[in-house]
């Protein structure tokens, strides 16, 4: 129901914007002065750009995330977000022993630059 209300509102807005197109304005000078030009342009432009990106650019330019090496695809947020910090020792795979200054130590929860101060 809730979702349907949004769709109805969206439909009304579409109709309203089309009605707006027919209001006011004098003689059209440019092509974009026609009442429904931007409705068609928005619809067509969206499809055109989607096809350009997904249909033409993507097949040629897509590469695996580790294309530039595994390090490039690290996407490690543990220094920035408490949500990405490992949640305590894993019973199956215990944490390796930490040495000061090691990568493990550097990325411990709470050690992150943006992580909130402990205590």
């Amino acid at each position: 129901m809730h979702r349907n209300v949004w769709w109805v509102l969206f439909g009304l807005a579409l109709v309203g914007s089309v009605a707006l197109g027919f209001m006011g304005e004098g003689e059209p000078v440019y092509i974009w002065d026609f009442a429904l030009f931007f409705a068609i342009f928005g619809l067509g432009g969206c499809l055109l750009l989607s096809y350009l990106a997904k249909g033409l650019v993507s097949p040629v330019m897509d590469r695996p995330e580790d294309f530039y090496g595994p390090q490039d695809a690290q996407n490690d947020w543990s220094t920035q977000s408490p949500a990405a910090a490992p949640a305590g020792p894993d019973p199956v795979q215990p944490d390796p022993p930490e040495s000061p200054g090691s990568d493990q130590a550097r990325r411990r929860p709470g050690r992150g630059a943006d992580a909130p101060e402990e205590g």
């Binding site: 807005a13 707006l20 974009w32 931007f38 342009f41 350009l52 993507s58 695996p64 101060e117």
Partner: protein, 581 residues
């Protein structure tokens, strides 16, 4: 208040002071300096000029006019809002470099001469690179290095152009450039920072890898300083229209494909700066006002976009659309804040982008360039498609990932900063007069709320949305990256490196090895020269004379003797040289 102290220097001196402030108070102390800079700006008058004699040059370290003031206001304001967003962090390096970065950006827009400009330009490159480094992962380290190298390259182009320009004209004043070799070099330097295609790849490489708070700062200063310098030096250069259009469309196309939410936004910086660059290229008064006001609103909405996506990353520890989804129940407020910024960037009526972007497009219309008008509208469609629809759909709605998302609460200061961003973006959207009043050339001859603009705005966005919902499955994000022009220096440069740099490196490595070996032989000989000579000539080793005393200590040349010998040699050299004179 502080006389005619350049506002940029307030932030730079603030960065020095900040280092001495205790950790717990540093976040709050940070805010004092943008506030001071804002107060200082309010006291600066048009035409104020402060000079400083340096060698044979008179440097204009502060030169105020309407163009620099627009950028000055927004730079100081965004530094304050981003400072609130970063209030919770406890990282001296990041806080100091953020302030230094904002200060050097502010310094650059008030630079009246080219040397002062280059000075602040270079500080900006290093200070901003630190905001990527500060994430402290191998990926970020490597990305920041690439970022720095690209900016050093840009800085070198700029410096080369400036020196050439001075040698030809004898003037260091930063004014509009005449076409010619020096101007092209300087334009190249500015183009690197403006992320003009194909020199743009650094932005999509580094900004998504910066720290959560650092990227909010990054989104504001570098590219907009470049827009300012282009507006001052290259207004009306037609090549910039083509460059701007290419940027606007390249950016949106790649943004549709990007999977990382902040990479989508980074590509949209390329696209939006494309609008500004095209405006500068058109060069009419309205186009310049459009470009300037768009830089202003862009800083506001792009800052809010980076703040909202940063909040998502903070809450979830994830940044890819393929790993996000269904977050609306957990973090709805970040969605609404994000959507205000997304509607602003898409220039929806009543949001900030609506008062600036259509101004640039209208200027293109008045300049009689219909192709430019249509291509800029197409880029607008792409902007709403990826930032206004695809990103929020696959982040807050869409399918939740199989692996449940752990969501942590977002610090209050992040919400506060986003709240300010929301307020400013809506306020400016419905009440553009304060911005229009400070634009260069006076209040623009443009009314965003004319019927034809409202018609364009609503139709374009609503029908783009309709098309999106029809093809939403087709646009599903993929866990892939896309090759961009950074491939040239990340992959194709390797063979060139092996051919040119590697042999030189090998030669130096060989030289270093030989010198170390020679030094080690001398060192061994120096411990006990007599013993060493005996071992070389094959004589019998000397017996130890008494217990506890080794042969080496027995025959070691006394340090005193060595020193005396050295001093005598110096004395002899001195005497001989005195006799010769």
């Amino acid at each position: 208040m502080l006389g005619t102290l350049p506002p940029g220097l307030i932030l730079i001196l603030g960065a020095l002071v900040l280092m001495a402030v205790p950790r717990a108070a540093r976040g709050w102390a940070f805010l004092a300096f943008p506030i001071l800079a804002l107060l200082q700006l309010s006291g600066l008058e048009d035409g104020t000029r402060v000079t400083w004699d340096f060698a044979i040059y008179e440097l204009a370290i502060l030169q105020v006019d309407t163009l620099s003031m627009v950028f000055g206001w927004i730079f100081a304001l965004v530094a304050l809002v981003a400072g609130i967003y970063a209030l919770h962090i406890r990282d001296t390096g990041q806080q100091v470099s953020a302030l230094l970065y904002a200060g050097s950006g502010l310094g650059a827009v008030f630079a009246g001469d080219l040397f002062t400009l280059v000075f602040f330009w270079e500080i900006m490159a290093f200070a901003s690179a630190y905001l990527v480094w500060a994430r402290r992962t191998d990926e970020a380290y490597a990305s920041a290095m690439r970022y720095l190298f690209v900016h050093i390259f840009g800085g070198a182009l700029l410096m080369g152009g400036v020196l050439w320009h001075i040698s030809e004209t004898g003037s260091i004043a930063f004014t509009a450039f005449e076409a010619g070799g020096p101007a092209w070099l300087i334009l190249g330097g500015f183009a690197v920072n403006a992320a003009v295609v194909p020199l743009h790849a650094w932005i999509a490489d580094a900004y998504p890898r910066g720290t959560i708070t650092g990227s909010v700062f990054l989104s504001a200063f570098t590219t907009k300083t470049a827009v300012y310098t282009l507006a001052r030096g290259f207004a009306g250069w037609e090549i910039l229209v083509a460059a701007g259009l290419l940027m606007a469309l390249w950016g949106v196309t790649y943004a549709i494909l990007a999977n990382d939410i902040r990479r989508v936004l980074a590509y949209h910086i390329v696209s939006q700066v494309g609008f500004m660059v095209a405006g500068v290229g058109i060069g009419t008064e309205l186009a310049m006002q459009g470009a300037t006001s768009h830089a202003y609103t862009h800083i506001l909405y792009k800052g809010l976009l980076f703040m909202a996506t940063g909040a998502v990353i903070y809450a979830t520890g994830r940044s890819k659309m393929t790993e996000l989804g269904g977050l609306m129940r957990q973090i709805p407020w970040t969605f609404w804040a994000y959507m205000v910024a997304a509607l602003s960037i898409s220039s929806a009526p009543f949001f900030s982008g609506f008062i600036s972007k259509p101004m640039t497009i209208s200027a293109a219309e008045y300049a009689g360039t219909p192709t430019t008008v249509l291509l800029l509208h197409l880029a607008s469609v792409g902007t709403f498609l990826s930032v206004g629809l695809k990103l929020p759909y696959f982040t807050w709605f869409g399918e939740a990932p199989k692996e449940p998302i752990k969501v942590v609460s977002i610090p209050w200061n992040m919400y506060a900063a986003m709240g300010i961003g929301v307020f400013l973006n809506i306020l400016l959207g419905v009440w553009p007069d304060p911005l229009y009043a400070i634009l260069p050339g006076g209040v623009p001859d443009f009314d965003p709320y004319e019927l034809k603009n409202l018609k364009k705005g609503f139709q374009l966005l609503l029908f783009t949305a309709l098309a999106f919902f029809v093809i939403v499955r087709y646009l599903k994000p993929k866990a892939k990256i896309q090759l961009d022009t950074d491939w040239t220096y990340r992959v194709a440069a390797r063979p060139a490196w092996n051919l040119v740099v590697a042999p030189v490196e090998r030669f130096f490595a060989w030289g270093e090895k030989v010198s170390w070996e020679a030094a080690s032989v001398v060192a061994r000989a120096g411990i006990d020269p007599v013993r060493w000579i005996r071992s070389v000539v094959g004589a019998r080793p000397v017996d130890v004379t008494s217990p506890g005393e080794s042969a080496s200590t027995t025959f070691r040349v006394s340090m005193t003797v060595m020193m005396v010998l050295l001093l005598l040699s110096v004395l002899v050299v001195l005497v001989l040289s005195a006799l010769r004179m």
